[in-house]
Symmetry: C2
Subunit: 166 residues, 2 copies
DNA sequence: TCATACGTTACGAAATCCGCAACCAGCGTA
DNA sequence: TACGCTGGTTGCGGATTTCGTAACGTATGA
């Protein structure tokens, strides 16, 4: 789906405040409220953007976050990714190129919870050859959204630094 | 700050839909709209939760996401974390225990953009001794929120699996 | 005991959202 | 060309939600 300036500016504003009234966004952009409503609906439907509440896990009862690097037997990366994505504790799963094949971030209640996850579930998945765990000590930045470039990459010749919140 | 059931249920509902009317949340919980408004304000003020729009970077013009593992000279981790957190491209920064000291996820326009970041900015930071980059091929899961436990950890004796969306 | 801060409810006014209907432009097709 | 169609946009009420504020109860501490 192709985004225009209106989409980008709507996203940018909603990144700052997900409950910003459509009327205010509209008057900022000089368009009608109905249009903003239509665009937000479309962006949401196309899964380009969504408006959600996000909570700091360390403040709502989870004491342990761990990043697990996983090495997988060639050809099984996709499958393992799908399996670990189904872990309810998984907050982030990405396949990567480099020394490791998968990154998995999990949010656990305590070390016993994590030990159970690692030994009884992760290591039993077909294709997982080794894991490396990194205890997350502190989250310094979690940009819950990404900056919106002024225009698509193709139209931007010179380096552009995306504007991110905080 | 101590959360009660009302806070947790408000967070849970907002995790599903960040624009859900307070009136509807209120009637679900059997409390007044004013109370929901008050709680959301407080949760936001205390930085426990926030309602934001989040966009898929790959759908809004950024083609390259990289996870960078950073080794830092002892004692400088905090400082380096603060420095890299200021990178507008940084979407995630966490200090970790293990083979590496810092994890930095960046969202870039293209490889040239990332090369500039790595060589001209990251490697010039005092205390950075080595880096290891992992190209993010595909994001399989990005839980934009975390499950809310039924009660604080201390009151929960048996294992609890947080309920996550998707 | 009193004062103060905090959490909660209730209520009316203001603002917002929502469901249309209408209109325009572009596009493929007869 | 004319026609019908789809997608994007605006405008307008009515329904709903939010917002400001006053009032009340309950701890808490001086």
């Amino acid at each position: 789906m192709e985004l225009d300036d209106i989409d980008r500016q709507i996203i940018a504003q909603l990144q700052g405040d997900g409950r910003r009234p459509f009327t205010q966004i509209a008057s900022d952009l000089g368009v009608s409220e109905g249009l903003v409503r239509y665009r937000v609906q479309r962006l949401t439907r196309e899964k380009v953007m969504q408006v959600v509440g996000i909570a700091d896990p360390l403040k709502i009862g989870f004491d342990l976050m761990v990043m697990v690097g996983i090495r997988v037997r060639p050809g099984l990366v996709r499958e393992v990714a799908d399996r670990v994505s189904k872990f309810p504790e998984a907050s982030y799963v990405a396949s990567i190129g480099g020394d490791l094949d998968l990154l998995l971030e999990v949010v656990c209640r305590d070390t016993a919870h994590f030990a159970d996850l690692l030994n009884n579930r992760l290591h039993h998945i077909e294709g997982v050859t080794s894991t490396q765990t990194f205890l997350i000590l502190e989250i310094h930045k979690m940009a819950y959204g990404w900056g919106v470039p002024d225009a698509p990459a193709a139209e931007r010749p010179e380096p552009h630094v995306p504007v991110l919140r905080e």
